[in-house]
């Protein structure tokens, strides 16, 4: 079933919030483990508003990984006025509802409401929202975002959680590219695999620890990936060579 993308109004956000809470209860009580798109809510004209130049989405679509989702949704909203809608909770809650089975329940912290519902009163938690954050990473980094988006649409990985926690790291292209060079290998199509195991020398957590130190002294945001890697200790540089 295809629907033109819309946005929830205030009432729509409230109804969707109740839907999420109810889904959470059903999952916790083991009444249900699989969930469907709430078509009646997203298609209700009294709960939603049209968005100029938005594309149509297939509400039955499933995605191989988060990257595929991000590319798909980016294409559908690429022509809308992002100055107006980039931070619009109604739009991203609507997308979250329309593709609900892709996001709920989640693999990690499976039924956390923040993963599927953007609340206007807790904006600092927005980075944890699947539908919006996965899209935003692709929107900012394009093809380079595959290293952060190769996992499932409902898997907010340890790497994604850690990177998104720091405003500098989350918005620094050099860091994302350096991460990709050290810990990710692209495979055919838009898939890939992680090339480190936790606990190894110069693993991802060591990388983040080093970055927190470097950030105190260096203007990381304006450094390229090669400049960043050159500042790390030799074990990280070895990892880059090994990962090629």
């Amino acid at each position: 079933m295809k629907l033109k993308i819309r946005k929830f109004n205030q009432k729509g956000n409230e109804i969707f919030s109740n839907f999420v809470k109810n889904s959470k209860r059903e999952f916790t009580s083991k009444k249900k483990s699989k969930f469907k798109t709430p078509i009646n809510i997203i298609n209700d004209k009294s709960l939603t508003e049209p968005i100029n130049l938005a594309g149509e989405i297939d509400v039955n679509k499933t995605f191989e990984n988060a990257f595929e989702y991000a590319v798909y949704i980016n294409d559908k909203i690429k022509d809308i006025d992002l100055k107006k809608y980039r931070w619009d909770d109604g739009l991203f809650n609507w997308i979250s509802a329309a593709l609900f089975p892709n996001f709920f329940p989640g693999i990690r912290s499976g039924i956390d409401e923040k993963r599927v519902f953007l609340s206007d009163v807790s904006k600092s938690k927005w980075r944890r929202h699947f539908a919006r954050t996965l899209w935003e990473i692709y929107h900012v980094y394009g093809e380079a975002s595959l290293c952060l988006l190769f996992k499932e649409t409902n898997n907010f990985s340890d790497e994604l959680e850690t990177v998104s926690k720091s405003p500098i790291m989350f918005s620094c292209k050099g860091i994302v590219e350096a991460y990709s060079d050290m810990y990710f290998k692209k495979e055919k199509g838009n898939t890939g695999k992680q090339t480190y195991k936790r606990g190894e020398v110069a693993d991802f957590r060591n990388f983040i620890d080093e970055l927190y130190q470097l950030e105190l002294n260096l203007d990381i945001f304006r450094m390229s990936k090669n400049q960043i890697i050159a500042k790390l200790n030799v074990a990280f540089n070895d990892r880059v060579k090994k990962n090629k």
């Binding site: 904006k123 927005w126 203007d219």
Partner: protein, 300 residues
């Protein structure tokens, strides 16, 4: 893991109560305005901690960010910062036209800013993340932004036999502007930047003298501006109503009670507006602390 900060990085104070180094305002049209005319503290600290770095090589970046989105703009260098200004006399905000003020896709009600001063790859000074001060339109800044002494009198180094003097400049391009001339050989301009006591003494004395000269003959717009500013501290007198027509020589001014009251009110108002007494005392305490610690070093 404990973070070790071996850097001498200086903290930039932005949008704080009191003495901000940089102030940023944003309106609901997603435009932002930046005032960085108050960087003397940062310059002093950088001179102390990084004496070998030329301030013209230190770039100032302002970053607007939220989540993965970050928009950076360079606002000049520490040696030559780009800044919006307030023309207090004409009551308007004068913005630098070469800077794009659009916050892009970030909503001004949710955006955070960070100020960075960097030299090559190193951060010399940085602020914490902070929110812009919300305004309905840019004229609202007039109510909030404080008058800076640099907007009142210029400082010019010249070869001279005195320590300092003041007058209205006679040569273009600053013809007619109130200027404090300082002894170039002695490097007093630099001392003014680094020592609040010297600045307090010179500026308060020069301000009083320039007001006195302006009253005698308010024959240019700069003198009128000074007098208008001085008048804001006077409860009883308007400078245009002062009877100066009987003053034939500058010395006669000391006989005129109304004029003297006006000048005294202006001088004490100026000292109070720029916290010169407090700054003097703080600098004095700092110097005493420094001397005591030097003595202690010898004692141990």
């Amino acid at each position: 893991m404990t973070l070790l900060n071996y850097t001498k990085r200086i903290e930039i104070l932005c949008n704080t109560e009191g003495n901000s180094d940089i102030s940023i305002y944003a309106n609901s049209k997603n435009e932002y305005f930046v005032f960085q005319e108050n960087l003397s503290r940062i310059k002093d600290e950088i001179n102390k901690k990084f004496p070998d770095i030329d301030s013209s090589q230190i770039k100032i970046f302002l970053e607007a960010y939220r989540d993965a989105f970050r928009k950076e703009t360079q606002w000049g260098t520490l040696g030559n910062p780009i800044t919006d200004k307030i023309d207090f006399f004409n009551k308007k905000v004068v913005i630098d036209k070469d800077i794009n003020r659009d916050l892009g896709e970030i909503d001004s009600s949710n955006v955070r800013f960070r100020a960075i001063m960097s030299y090559n790859e190193s951060i010399i000074a940085a602020s914490e993340g902070f929110r812009p001060l919300p305004i309905a339109n840019k004229e609202e800044i007039l109510k909030v932004q404080k008058f800076k002494d640099s907007q009142l009198m210029g400082v010019l180094e010249i070869d001279m036999e005195e320590l300092f003097s003041c007058n209205f400049h006679t040569e273009p391009p600053h013809e007619g502007k109130p200027v404090i001339y300082v002894n170039k050989k002695l490097g007093i301009k630099s001392d003014i930047s680094s020592d609040s006591r010297i600045k307090s003494l010179i500026f308060s004395s020069a301000f009083k003298e320039l007001i006195r000269r302006s009253i005698i003959d308010a024959d240019n717009e700069y003198k009128k501006r000074l007098l208008n500013y001085a008048q804001t501290f006077s409860d009883n007198h308007k400078w245009q109503d002062l009877k100066v027509d009987k003053i034939e020589t500058p010395a006669d001014i000391f006989e005129n009670q109304e004029v003297n009251e006006f000048i005294d009110d202006a001088a004490s108002g100026y000292i109070s507006a720029f916290n010169l007494l407090k700054k003097y005392q703080e600098q004095k305490n700092e110097t005493i602390d420094g001397l005591e610690s030097e003595v202690n070093e010898y004692e141990t």
